[in-house]
Symmetry: C2
Subunit: 142 residues, 2 copies
DNA sequence: ATGTATGCAAAACATTTGCACCTGG
DNA sequence: CCAGGTGCAAATGTTTTGCATACAT
């Protein structure tokens, strides 16, 4: 039961938190902004304030339940942390996001960090390109 | 003469633009936020509005004269585009930034994009870690 | 002269916070 | 019951814009 995940994070299992987690789960590989989550909550009939969405997402991030990404364009987006690290390719036309992992790159990153005198803690790699989706350029968002 | 670069960008050679370019040149490998540039201009006795700094930086970016990066933490930072592409390692403690290029990673990125059905246009790679600088943790900013 | 640029103040956003009121355990 | 959670509105910080004035060519 996912409520346990919330409890494990040291947080009370409240309505807003459960619903936000559900929204994120149902989003699958999509990446939602705080505003997106808020809209979806309202669409589902939940009466949750935007401030709470921000607070909960921040807490979930601190607890390692979700990851926050910055991509191009004003706002941050969130996705459920499914355990396996991955990077992203974002289509600059339609916004589609595809995830990937590449051990060659991961390994080189560690080598570079060490070589430059850093103890690697984290990294952010995002590729930007034009995808070949038929729907692309119709303005469809991931 | 650098004024030519401004002219080549299709922009008039005005006082503010020349001074902002000078600030960026003297910053070397440092990464400045719009606010940083604004402060430095005032320190140098220039009377330039913050709005102009934002407008000019945006125009310079569109012209390929500067690059904008998003790193962690609210604001964007800018650096002069010296022609050679590079990525960054940022110290999460003191904020120091080191640039690097790695052909192995560059090459893998192209392969991954192709394989995922994207035409690679750009990418953003930032490593985060703790540096071994003696000054680190004194809060020195790059 | 004349189309651009600039400065200033106001607007627009994304995100955070203060505070009185609720609620889960 | 009571610490912690929530909603709302107001505050923040960053970046953008409207508009009247000033400037480069």
């Amino acid at each position: 039961m996912e409520n346990q995940e919330i409890r494990n994070a040291g947080l009370k299992v409240t309505g807003p938190r459960v619903k936000i987690l559900e929204i994120l789960e149902s989003a699958g590989e999509k990446h939602l902004s705080a505003e997106d989550v808020y809209r979806l909550l309202l669409d589902n009939g939940a009466e949750i304030g935007l401030a709470t969405v921000y607070r909960v997402l921040t807490q979930f991030e601190a607890a390692g339940l979700v990851e926050r990404h910055h991509f191009e364009g004003g706002s941050s987006v969130y996705e459920l942390n499914k355990g396996e690290h991955h990077d992203h390719i974002v289509c600059v036309i339609c916004g589609k996001v595809v995830e990937f992992v590449d051990q060659t790159i991961e390994k080189r990153q560690r080598q570079i960090a060490t070589q430059k005198g850093f103890e690697l803690a984290d990294h952010s790699l995002t590729l930007y390109g034009r995808c070949t989706d038929p729907d692309c350029s119709l303005g469809k968002k991931d």
